[in-house]
């Protein structure tokens, strides 16, 4: 099998986790998409630098990390995680997710699904309204029968509870 075909296989295997990494680091989904493209292109151009004894996913996300920092220099507001330490912590989260049971990212996310089901009702409703029904701002508040500020806090709290549940059930504990 030639190098290009192997590269394509590797990129496909790690595309989901790269997507998670970039969506975590960047606020603007369009920018995340652009950085995805740039990361793959750079990885291809630097393939000679890749140590085949080491895993491909962290190397790919290492390139993405530099892309995120470069994007922040151009547009501070589009990037959520701007500190190298935060991006390192994010990489730790990805690595731990990678080591959860399951052969695919979708399967590894079963634990997240269980954590969503375990959320108390107000938080589960908030997650559903925000992510399943894709509501935001006033529409989210209306759906949750509350005001904007309270709706936002419900979602934030739900995410915190979810993160804690994921860490508690194994795999993505933050060490710092």
């Amino acid at each position: 099998m030639d190098t290009k075909r192997l590269f394509e296989i590797l990129v496909r295997e790690h595309a989901g986790m790269l997507d998670v990494f970039l969506k975590s680091a960047v606020r603007d989904p369009g920018l995340a998409d652009d950085l995805f493209q740039e990361t793959v292109l750079t990885a291809w151009n630097r393939l000679d630098d890749f140590d085949q004894e080491r895993p491909f996913g962290p190397w790919l996300r290492g390139i993405a990390r530099r892309k995120v920092l470069a994007a922040h220099r151009k547009s501070a507001s589009a990037v959520a995680l701007t500190d190298p330490g935060a991006l390192e912590a994010l990489e730790e989260q990805c690595a731990r997710l990678h080591h959860r049971p399951g052969d695919t990212l979708d399967e590894k996310l079963d634990g997240v699904r269980r954590c969503i089901e375990d959320l108390a009702e107000p938080y589960r409703d908030a997650v559903r309204a925000r992510y399943e029904e894709d509501l935001d701002g006033a529409r989210l508040a209306e759906r949750l029968s509350t005001n904007n500020e309270r709706a936002k806090k419900l979602v934030q709290r739900a995410r915190r509870l979810l993160a804690a549940c994921i860490e508690r059930t194994g795999g993505t504990e933050v060490t710092a």
């Binding site: 099998m1 290009k4 075909r5 192997l6 590269f7 394509e8 296989i9 990129v11 496909r12 295997e13 595309a15 989901g16 997507d19 998670v20 990494f21 969506k23 975590s24 680091a25 995805f36 493209q37 990361t39 793959v40 292109l41 291809w44 959520a80 995680l81 500190d83 330490g85 935060a86 912590a89 994010l90 989260q93 997710l97 399951g102 052969d103 695919t104 990212l105 979708d106 399967e107 996310l109 079963d110 997240v112 699904r113 269980r114 969503i116 089901e117 997650v127 559903r128 925000r130 992510y131 399943e132 934030q156 995410r159 915190r160 979810l162 993160a163 994921i166 993505t172 933050v174 710092a176």
Partner: protein, 296 residues
């Protein structure tokens, strides 16, 4: 916990929630395709186009076993007529299995994984008709099921949460690729292409002992396929087939690979051969009335 790490946790949870609730995985393929298409030189882009037309290739699919399935489609045309010679007995068994798979009969298989623990891990069960129609049920937590399938005309996916829309596409190449991408550890969606790959990319031999142990069954023929330098490195190192002597129907298929962590087996077993009703391989047979359907 510092504010910085709280932000990391929040953002990570946000990305996971987007992924769980959205259709992110089914768009991965397009995203990768675009990224690879941007690489100068054209080879990858052309390859991706060829892959899309062919329905599937090893390069398009995320997991190792689907690659086994996938490679068959892309390579079959080339190798069908000029496949390297395998020992005739083993090759003829695989040919008989191919003929049986291409018949229009319904077959129902279980798929399980051996992760090295005490028990097999059930992965899914799959209904197969002919070379390409299938309906696959993937168990989800809480007793729910995710269905995915292809009826020869439309590919479809039914997410486990009933609130989420069924995804349907009449573009078979795109939809089949999405299904395979999304179920990258669910191997035997296309037994025909799996068998073509086994025939053409492995060294075949007949064996007398069942791969899964137990007493030899005289009604079965056993073929062992061992990878060699023709076999892409991401494919299983060994595949054991048990084929019914009478008609070539596959009774079991065991794919194994060497893992840096632990041995891995993926096991396909025939459950029954009951005829399924008309429409079984379409999505309508597996949803409640009123379920939203999104076509693209």
């Amino acid at each position: 916990m510092s504010a910085e790490h709280d932000e990391v946790r929040q953002r990570f949870a946000h990305a996971l929630l987007e992924r769980v609730h959205g259709d992110a995985e089914s768009t991965d393929r397009e995203r990768v395709q675009r990224a690879l298409g941007a690489i100068p030189g054209g080879d990858l882009r052309d390859g991706a186009r060829r892959a899309s037309r062919a329905g599937t290739t090893a390069r398009r699919i995320g997991g190792w076993v689907p690659r086994l399935v996938a490679a068959g489609l892309a390579l079959a045309v080339v190798w069908w007529a000029a496949g390297p010679g395998a020992p005739p007995a083993a090759a003829s068994v695989v040919e008989r299995a191919l003929a049986a798979v291409r018949s229009n009969d319904d077959r129902h298989y279980s798929i399980a994984a051996d992760d090295g623990g005490d028990e097999l891990r059930p992965v899914a069960d799959v209904y197969i008709r002919g070379g390409d129609q299938f309906a696959l049920r993937f168990a989800r937590p809480g007793g729910r099921s995710m269905w995915t399938g292809y009826d020869g005309i439309e590919g479809w996916r039914i997410p486990a949460p009933s609130r989420m829309a069924v995804r349907v596409s009449s573009d078979p190449a795109v939809m089949k690729a999405r299904i395979l991408d999304r179920n990258s550890d669910l191997p035997f969606l296309e037994l025909e292409s799996a068998l073509v790959t086994i025939r053409d990319l492995y060294v075949l031999s007949t064996v007398s002992e069942p791969a899964l142990g137990g007493a030899p069954d005289p009604s079965l023929l056993h073929v062992r396929a061992i990878a060699d330098d023709r076999t892409p490195p991401d494919m299983p190192r060994q595949i054991d087939l048990a084929v019914r002597r009478e008609d070539g129907v596959i009774q079991s298929l065991v794919a194994s690979r060497e893992s840096s962590l632990r041995p891995r087996l993926l096991i396909l077993r025939l459950l029954d051969e009951e005829a399924r009703p008309d429409g079984w391989y379409g999505f309508e047979a597996h949803i409640a009335p009123g379920r939203r359907v999104r076509r693209y």
